[in-house]
Amino acid sequence: MPRPFRFGPAAISRPSFSAADLVIVAGLGSVLALAIRLAWRAPAVVAGPRISLSWSALPWYALLSTSRMAAAYGLSLLFSLAYGYFAARSAGARRVLMPLLDILQSVPILSFLPVVLLGLSAVLPQGLATELAAIILIFTSQAWNMTYSFYQSVTTVPQEMREAAAIFRLSPWLRFRVLDLPFAALGLIWNSMMSWAGGWFFLMAAEIFRVGSRDFRLAGLGAYLQTAADANDLKAVTAGVLTLIVTIVLLDQILWRPVLAWADKFKVEMVSSDAPPPRSWFFDVLNRSHLIGWLRHRFWSPFTERLDRRANLPAESSGETGAGVWRRLGLGLAAALGVIAAMALLFGVYRAVVTLMEMPAAGWPAIGTGVLATFGRVVASLVLALLWTVPVGVAIGTNRRLAGVLQPVVQVVASIPATALFPVLVLALLRVPGGLNLAAVILMLAGTQWYLLFNVIAGTAAIPQDLRDSADLLRLSRWQRWRTLTLPALFPFLVTGAITAGGGAWNASIVAEYVTFGGETHSTVGIGSLIARATAASDYRLLLAATLAMILAVVGLNRTWWRWLYHQAEVRFKLE
């Protein structure tokens, strides 16, 4: 069934707060507490890399940044396949894994960055620790929606296809290769592209992270842009931005477009749709290439044939007793792991509580104020984003000519991660009174408006032609038309867009509210700046309390306000 594509989290429709949520939040707190315990031993001074502003260094930096993205993406893909498959196959695992995923995807990921950085640099050599932290950070921003997509695909394989796989006795491996993976491929690829785009935002944030005397920056495009802005070198800034754009566009052209064109055969609809299949010049070139054809014939086909033969273990194990032993062994192992995890969890929660108790009472009001201030900025950025994206999106969605002109421009502009431009923004706004406040809101806006815009365009395009015709026939005035047709039809899309955008805005607060620029530190009131300041001052109690407060605030908002809106959107404003 062709469904209008919505850019946003998919797992929101689960029931609200449950006991599992409590366990999961406690688990997060406990992991944080344990990492912070490690962080106590983190070096007080961290020297960052030397960033060269020479243009010849740019390709090298682009390669470094892309490698980090690739490593994180590879990790995310493996994780999604394993986690999603396991959750789909085992009912017991599903009960734990799915609520966990739901929380994980609404947690503000950047809030973990300081804790992860400090924890890792306490145990690993400096360079490795920051690299690893960046990869973990990008991974946590990429994995959840891919996992959810894969899980959902595997659980929604049509019944008759599942039965066909069973009646022809496909082995688990063949079934995965012939049925589950192809069926999930399109969703997985779309989500991969979203994850990849989102990953740049976090990569740039990780590459420029620097608090007090701890310089966690990484050699890469993000650090280049920051250094350039720091040195007031506008030429270097321009070169850096251009390199970034070229890198992103190039990856899109030689990686994602070809993959998308290739994956068109995984469409499940049996009717050929009106929409032309995605095309890619690079894919056509590859397809026509004799070398590729030869490689496929000579190596790829024999390889898959042998792989299938090796992995083609029969579905039913021949030796029942052997299977029983393995099963029991597996269960025993799982039980042992469960006990260890539970004990670690309890210890972590204990540590978290102790750490929090030790925090001076004066810290709490500051955290409350910080959460409120950041909340205010998030709301402001959302309102600003709505104010411009709704009219523009509706215009693009209804006007074909305008869409033809603006769509490519919007896509390129949207692909530039907001965090990469943040140092430039700071450079421009720091002298204005309340400048950092403004810069923070603009960063949040820049990071989030695209989700809204794309959703508005998709929502407008999804308004059925007969409804538009009726609105014309009824001679509705412009305002009446907005009220009775456009806004209600857009509502579900606005909600999904706003959920994702809101999550992004909270994330941005970590880098936006506390800036080290030109050797000076500037900060404004907010939970993000509190977390950054605690990291700089090695105030681990405050760091734990502030990070937990932010997680609770975001998860709480998701579970109450957004869920309610989402429910309204699903029940009252669904067009079908």
Partner: protein, 438 residues
């Protein structure tokens, strides 16, 4: 035929024996029984049809026989032996073809062979031969989406034949095809089967198309619903090729129609007990009011009595569409069924000739005989505000209908809305009495 389970000579042996098979879902009071205590035998060389209205559990039975799902109780014996899991000697051709859209025709046929560890050259040769047999040569490298429905089902047949099944199970294989493709494919299958060009020892086909069953089968097993059970078995002695215009053919179709539609049961039995009360609570049939009006008018034009077979053909209704409407007419007392004929009652005649408003009143007067609707109506009347939350009714109905409860409640609301008895307020999620709104 004997009931012995020992291996007799292969020619007379029972290929498949189903004994007392029951399948229920759910547990503890909320269970739903799909099929109950079914006995079935299929002999070597037989073509057997399972025929019945939707919801009679015929597809469930097919899946139990193929080993896709286990029976709750009872036995399935293949050549006298019990087989755990999927029966390796059986295969299924599916209603929606169940081809893998991302594999070419050839790959779709060979994947079953790959699973059996057949080597590449043999796979390739077998696939080409079978694709040729079903008349698709030249389409080996095509993807299923490039084929028409009939051609896709041919791939389905080729794939099934690739594993050389002894028992070929067909799950409504022609019902997703257009009329002409279905007819052509039926002919081709019969040609292969009667010409002994298939390695298959018996065919079991599920269908709800009576003519199709009479056209193809050696024996028709008629199933009924609530819960699914075998009503009767009708042997088909007609010689192949069979002609639809043949009087013997038509007589047999009529006989099968009578067996499927049954006759109108007594009123107490037909209506059942109220939800929550002991006894069987009759389900509301999924019938639309417009369809009911159409049927009544048609019956009236026919002089108040019509052959079900003709009625279905004239109104272009499949059995699955006709039976629920007929059931609704019986519940309202507008018509009854005897000997394969639908007969209009005086009340039904009045309805057929009435204006829209009078029709509503007629339905309102009769619909309260239906226990579920009466129970909702009484519950609402006893409420102070004459408004009760939908969830209340759903919870109670779940005890009788399980997962079917939401649909039953929706049906009740639809009928009651038509009769202007009670309605549903989407904003508050409540049911309310229409009279209380004035």
């Amino acid at each position: 035929m004997t009931t012995m389970t020992t291996m007799a000579t292969p020619e007379t042996a029972e290929l498949l024996t189903v004994r007392g098979v029951t399948k229920s879902y759910g547990a503890e009071g909320k269970s739903f029984t799909a099929v109950q205590n079914v006995d079935l035998r299929i002999a070597e060389g037989e073509f057997v049809c399972l025929l019945g209205p939707s919801g009679c559990g015929k597809s469930t039975l097919l899946r139990i026989i193929a080993g896709l799902m286990p029976a709750t109780s009872g036995q399935v014996l293949y050549c006298g032996r019990h087989i755990a899991g999927v029966n390796p000697y059986a295969t299924i051709v599916f209603q929606t073809f169940a081809l893998f859209p991302w594999l070419t025709v050839e790959q779709n046929v060979t994947v079953a062979l790959k699973a059996r560890g057949v080597d590449l050259p043999t796979r390739h040769a077998t696939a080409l031969r079978l694709i040729d047999t079903v008349g698709l040569d030249g389409f080996e490298k095509a993807y299923p989406r490039e084929l028409s429905g009939g051609m896709r089902q041919k791939v389905g047949f080729a794939r099934a034949m690739a594993v050389e099944p002894e028992l070929l199970c067909l799950d409504e294989p022609f019902s997703a095809l257009d009329v002409l493709s279905a007819e052509a494919l039926r002919g081709e299958l019969m040609e292969l089967w009667l010409g002994k060009k298939l390695p298959t020892r018996a065919i079991l086909m599920v269908t709800h198309n009576i003519e199709e069953a009479v056209l193809m089968a050696d024996r028709i097993v008629v199933m009924g619903k609530n819960p699914g059970h075998v009503v009767t078995e009708i042997p088909v002695g007609l010689r192949h090729p069979r002609a639809r215009k043949d009087t013997a053919f038509q007589a047999l179709v009529d006989r099968v129609y009578a067996a499927v539609a049954g006759h109108t049961p007594s009123e107490a039995e037909a209506l059942g007990t109220a939800p929550g009360q002991p006894g069987h609570t009759r389900r509301l049939p999924p019938a639309r009011i417009n369809a009911l009006s159409g049927l009544m008018e048609r019956l009236n034009e026919e002089g108040g009595r019509s052959d079900l077979y003709r009625l279905g053909a004239d109104l272009q209704l499949e059995l699955d569409d006709l039976l629920p409407v007929l059931e609704a007419a019986q519940i309202l007392g507008f018509a009854h069924v005897t000997e394969g004929d639908a007969v209009l009652t005086p009340l039904g005649k009045a309805f057929a000739e009435a204006s829209i408003l009078t029709r509503k009143q007629l339905v309102a007067g009769r619909i309260l005989r239906q226990p579920t609707i009466l129970w909702i109506f009484e519950t609402l009347r006893q409420d102070d505000n004459q408004r009760v939350a939908k969830s209340f009714f759903l919870d109670k109905l779940r005890a009788d209908f399980g997962d079917e409860a939401p649909r039953q409640l929706d049906l009740a609301i639809k009928w009651a809305r038509y009769a202007e008895l009670f309605a549903f307020d989407d904003d508050t999620d409540e049911l309310y009495l229409e009279a209380a709104q004035e």
